[in-house]
């Protein structure tokens, strides 16, 4: 169980983390989400005392620096490629083992676990980002900890690696461990996280289950497609539902249940080619929630202020095709 209390981090006049409190429960994967510059990595570093600032974080009641052998209790992956390029991968792990009285054999076991056994004796100078992440994961797992804090662990991993990581983290959570993962890959987090902590501009925006988060920001609608709508629009509206015709020829109905729309269409004698429930994804819910706290706002070519007024791209709003 991780308990985070009132973390604050200021860099001059900028407040990167602003009185942040939340808790991370064992037995589930907790996703840590936020736009770029929202303070996710800073929060992770504050939690384990790597960055200094007011507030406190406890791991089963103890601060990180009070743990006797911290790697046996909390596994950390805070940065890809945080290793000396000239030190062999195995030596990097053995060195960390020595710090926490972990059996040196564990280095080879963890390298095997993350798929780096073949390069154990290689110097990581030429490691790719993905290989660096795997080595960092191996380091996090050395002490077989009950808590994991992973900052963007899937960065640079190939699809197989991402799938392995997802299954592995879910397995660890199923064993009752506490897994706290920050990520930008929202579709991945939707598959992985049971619970989400969302921050924007250093402040807590949401702390709830993933399902609740999606539902909270969710725009649910029903898509109805038919070769001939006849009187169905009137029938649907007569039941108090909102109906919008879409450019692709379908209807979007909100405020209704799927079965009820099907029944109404049937009563109107309409042939149905498509009838489906749609909900916003975690990504859409996330974008909606964090739109005001985004630090690095972007524009599309052709939009006002970009100086690229004449340029457009096929398929984009305002495009020239």
């Amino acid at each position: 169980m991780i308990e985070v209390h009132n973390l604050v981090k200021r860099y001059g006049v900028v407040t990167a983390v602003n009185d942040l409190s939340f808790s991370v429960k064992p037995g589930q994967v907790t996703g840590f989400l936020g736009p770029n510059g929202s303070g996710k990595s800073t929060t992770c570093r504050l939690m384990v005392g790597l960055d200094r600032g007011p507030g406190s974080t406890t791991f089963d009641g103890k601060r990180y620096d009070q743990l006797q052998a911290p790697m046996k209790e909390v596994g950390l992956l805070l940065e890809a490629k945080a290793f000396h390029p000239g030190r062999r991968a195995r030596d990097h792990l053995r060195m960390l083992c020595a710090a926490n009285s972990i059996d040196q054999k564990r280095a080879d076991e963890c390298l095997e676990m993350v798929g780096l056994a073949d390069v154990a004796k290689r110097r990581p100078k030429g490691f790719s980002l993905g290989m660096g992440q795997r080595l960092g994961l191996a380091a996090a797992l050395l002490g077989d900890p009950h808590t994991l804090i992973l900052d963007e662990p899937s960065n640079g991993l190939d699809p197989q690696g991402i799938q392995w990581l997802r299954e592995f983290l879910r397995f660890l959570a199923s064993q009752g461990r506490t897994v706290f993962v920050s990520s930008h890959l929202l579709s991945e987090m939707q598959l992985l996280a049971d619970h989400v902590v969302v921050i924007g501009a250093g402040k807590l925006l949401a702390d709830c289950t993933t399902a609740e988060f999606v539902a909270r920001g969710s725009k649910a609608w029903i898509v109805l497609r038919s070769p001939s709508y006849g009187s169905v629009v009137d029938v649907l509206r007569s039941r108090g539902w909102s109906v919008e015709a879409q450019p692709d020829g379908s209807l979007h109905i909100t405020g209704a249940e799927l079965a009820a729309v099907g029944d109404a269409a049937h009563s109107a004698g309409v042939v149905i080619h498509e009838l489906a429930q749609h909900r916003s994804s975690l990504e859409e819910a996330f974008i909606e929630l964090t739109s005001d706290s985004q630090q690095y706002k972007t524009t599309l070519p052709g939009s006002p202020g970009t100086g690229l007024g004449g340029i457009g791209f096929p398929g984009l709003p305002g495009g020239n095709s």
Binding site: R45, V48, G49, L50, D51, R52, Y64, D65, L67, Q68, A69, P70, M71, L76, L78, E79, K81, A82, F83, H84, P85, G86, R87, R88, D91, H92, R94, M95, L96, A98, A99, N100, S101, A139
Partner: protein, 251 residues
């Protein structure tokens, strides 16, 4: 937690450590051989000749390599971003810092002792009966012991500078510029009549104090006791400042 085991593994698993040890040992042996050949056939106090061979061969370059090894203890961590894994494994920062001062100092003192001993053996073989070793001679043993202490203090000072600057390059440049340039300029300045009243300060500069630990007696420099105390205070003072900054700053 075992910060000393960690630091020992950290230091021994990178090539730069062994490169520096090799170069330092080769230079020590080379200087011992050259000094022996230069002293061969010299009349006078034989113990003094031996003492000079030991002093010159062991201190000519080892101070620099000791300081570099110390600088690397912190410098590598910041240069390659390994400070975060290190402090994740060893969150008690003052203890981690202590290991970073002690391990390079102990390692390079040991290396200096071995290379110095090898230098003496080489010199003995080369000199034959022209020189005799008298280990009971106070100044010879003292020179040997103080050289090891001096190297250890240079390693501690180097590590402290890197802990303060958090930059390997800045630390190396700063150390070299101070010892080779600024301190010599200050000594020159102190020869001016206008600075006569403060010229005694030059004895207490780090390089001068370190040299006087193993140097020949000179009224313008501190004796070996004063030099040892002064240089130890300078190194420890820097180490305390470096440790406190290391403990308080973001990793």
């Amino acid at each position: 937690m075992n910060p000393f085991a960690y630091e020992w593994l950290r230091i021994k698993t990178i090539r730069s450590t062994w490169v520096m040890i090799t170069i330092s040992t080769v230079l020590t042996l080379a200087i011992a051989i050259i000094a022996t050949l230069a002293n061969k056939g010299t009349a006078g106090n034989l113990d003094r000749n031996w003492s000079d061979i030991v002093r010159v061969s062991m201190t000519a370059m080892t101070w620099l390599f000791g300081a570099l090894l110390g600088i690397f203890a912190f410098g590598h961590e910041y240069r390659y971003g390994t400070i975060r894994p290190t402090l994740s494994a060893l969150p008690k920062r003052r203890v981690a810092a202590l290991a970073k001062f002690v391990v390079p100092a102990a390692l390079f003192s040991t290396v200096t002792a071995i290379s110095g001993a090898l230098g003496i053996i080489c010199a003995r073989i080369l000199a034959g009966s022209a020189l005799t070793i008298s280990w009971s001679a106070n100044h010879l043993i003292r020179t040997f012991a103080l050289t090891l202490l001096q190297v250890a203090l240079w390693a501690i000072l180097g590590a402290a500078i890197a802990a303060i600057t958090r930059s390997q390059i800045a630390s190396i440049i700063g150390l070299l510029v101070w010892v080779l340039l600024i301190e010599n300029l200050l000594v020159l300045l102190f020869t001016w009549d206008a600075l006569e009243s403060v010229k005694g300060v030059r004895k207490y500069l780090p390089g001068a104090a370190a040299n006087s630990m193993v140097g020949t007696p000179d009224p313008d420099v501190l004796g070996w006791v004063g030099g040892s105390i002064t240089f130890a205070l300078i190194a420890i003072g820097f180490a305390i400042v470096g440790t406190e900054l290391f403990a308080r700053r973001d990793a």
